[in-house]
């Protein structure tokens, strides 16, 4: 990012992207549909489960593959878990950018650690899980996973209260974040923003509610929104979303079929009918879409990724012009940017 400053005041911002470009979209064209899953891990590496889900759902949509019930519920539970983990990381690093010297971040890492442990339990990995498969999951979850998720869901509200006690009404934090880095509702819609960034601007839009995929239509949850679209609202919407995710997890755990297949009968090498498909889900950072063009072979002809962060960040220059350097850092932190997703 190239900044032009007048003293402390920002007069121009020019984002320079491309330093993390790995050519994932091109690489995908030479890989089979199953081999692409680990590539999707490397998009938003703080929430790679939802990337897997989004990609698998796009492939399933084109192939007409029916995912077993148990796998759908487990996908929901795991996605919401990852959403909480991603939001914890987002809020923690946002507060760190605010200058809070790691304390909130470390408190949030305490809970994120539990989520990572649970992911380790099911997939053997802590960051890039490669857990989902086209048609379901790669393997069934162990019994202790369900127990520890239940424990986590029961404990988490208390920890969220703790975060609120720690920072929510801190005078300096309010002064720094309220009214700073405003993204107006109209601009947010115009650029096609999504996720907590859009909802903080006051737009009630969530793929899970508006275009329910998987089994999301069976759960009762709310879509929290902010009013002003400033840094504080983006922070607060994420906190509220964590509570809603916990609600979904609780219901999904109650409805989860105790037994059953976890993956549809999909061979390792399979072809999709020629055609195009766009599948999208509500990833932690927003509307994550996969656009697949198939020519009937075992690899996609073209794979395009619609990354929420890149879209959200397009209005960034307008949001920070005229503000101070410190506000730029804060606004950037509140957008929850993961560079793996901006440069695919």
């Amino acid at each position: 990012m190239r900044l032009t400053l007048d003293g402390e005041v920002i007069t121009d911002v020019e984002p320079i992207v491309g330093y993390l470009h790995r050519g994932i979209e091109k690489l995908a064209e030479t890989r089979t549909y199953t081999q692409i899953i680990p590539l999707t891990d490397r998009l938003d590496y703080l929430a790679s489960m939802t990337n897997n889900v989004a990609y698998c759902m796009a492939v399933e949509k084109l192939g007409g593959i029916k995912v077993p019930e148990r796998a759908e519920y487990l996908r929901v539970i795991i996605s919401e878990m990852i959403r909480i983990s991603s939001h914890l990381m987002a809020i923690g690093s946002f507060l760190n950018d605010c200058g809070a010297f790691f304390t909130p971040l470390l408190y949030m890492w305490r809970e994120r650690e539990k989520i990572l442990d649970m992911c380790d339990m099911i997939s053997g990995q802590r960051l890039l899980y490669n857990f989902m498969r086209v048609g379901g999951l790669s393997q069934d979850v162990p019994a202790e996973f369900i127990t520890s998720v239940k424990k986590f869901v029961a404990e988490m509200p208390r920890y969220i209260d703790e975060y609120n006690q720690l920072v929510k009404e801190n005078e300096v934090f309010l002064a720094r974040s309220k009214g700073v880095g405003i993204l107006p509702k109209e601009t947010a819609i115009a650029i096609g923003a999504s996720g907590p960034v859009l909802r903080a601007s006051g737009m009630k839009w969530d793929v899970r509610k508006m275009d329910p995929y998987s089994v999301y239509d069976r759960f009762d949850f709310e879509v929290p929104t902010g009013q002003n679209g400033d840094c504080y609202d983006r922070y607060w919407v994420r906190i509220l979303e964590m509570t809603q995710s916990l609600r979904i997890m609780e219901q999904a755990l109650a409805q989860l079929p105790a037994k059953g297949p976890i993956c549809a009968d999909v061979p390792q090498f399979f072809t999709l009918p020629a055609g195009e498909v766009y599948g999208y889900i509500e990833a932690p950072k927003g509307n994550l879409g996969f656009y697949i063009v198939s020519d009937g072979s075992i690899a996609p002809y073209r794979l395009h990724i619609y990354p929420p962060t890149l879209i959200n960040i397009t209005a960034f220059a307008d949001m920070v012009k005229g503000w101070k350097v410190a506000d730029l850092i804060l606004t950037f932190g509140s957008m929850d940017v993961v560079l793996g997703e901006i440069d695919r």
Binding site: V9, T11, G99, F102, G322
Partner: protein
Amino acid sequence: MTLLDQFQLFLKAQGWPEWAYYTVPALAGIVVIIGVVLAAVIVYIWWERRFVARIQIRLGPNRCGPEGIFQPIATAVKILLKEDIVPANADKVLHFIAPIVVFVPILMIFAVVPFDRGAILVDLNVGIVYVIAISSISVIGIFTASWASGNKYSFISGLRSISQMVSYEIPVVLSIVGVVLMTGSFSMIKIVEAQTVPFILLQPLGFLLFFMGALAEMNRSPFDLLEADSEIVAGYHLEYSGMKFAMFYLGEYGMALAYSAVITTVFLSGWQGPFLPGVIWFLVKVMLVFSVIVWIRSMMPRMRVDQLMSFAWKAMLPMALINLLVIAVEVLVIPSLQWLMLIINFGLAAVLILLFSRIFTLGGGRVEV
């Protein structure tokens, strides 16, 4: 009579030549002070790291020696062994001088700090003025460092340092004047002896203003804009490594130690306290003040530069002036009724803080470009 005077008399009685019984005690005192300060800084670094770790639900360094007490020494050795890098477009001479200019004044502050009854290097009759004057010199060092580095992040930090430190000097001085009015002397020893009741109780508002100003002066959170790591990387000491960086590092903690000592002396009745020897009381109080500083650091987000300035000029300065006025009237009208002063000043502090929290708001800050 201070310990140094006694030492001088002792040497005189031993029949030492005249030049020796002036220079030897002074040099001995200086060596002792430097030794004590450096040792204290090492303990401080250890304490901060462990204490912050406790707040942040982690363990902190605990491998090196019992409870990790030798970790700062290991860190110091590591830093000293590093290569000393001078950037190509740095001003070589200023780049070399700046760390010294930052560090030396901090040691000089300790010359007038009474560690115990009589344990003071020089009992200057303008002690507190000397402290304020000397501590301001560090700003020049910091600005020199930022300018000489030839780095844009450092330079932003340098610009911030000048405005921040000069602004916060004023409420600091005004809150000290309140103490001086009650004491009737600038001497540090007189100030301690005047505190039958610690001044933190008699002048709560003055204490708070001084404490906040001191936080800004020593670049501690929430006023640590000079080295805001998320904004300007490390600020003025970005281009420093090795020994020179160690000087800044020691300087930062030395400054915290110096201000803790000054706060202890001026507001917490210095070495005075029941039962225990004075020096123990002094160290306990200094540690307490430092722990509060560390606590604030680990809990507070950073302020923005314009909020920082408006806080100094629009909130702290008027409060300091009102506080000074009230104390001046009290000293004139009811000089002996300390309990009445205590009640009035606590009331004043409560009213002013409530009032200013209503009428003074931070935030906003966008400029049309």
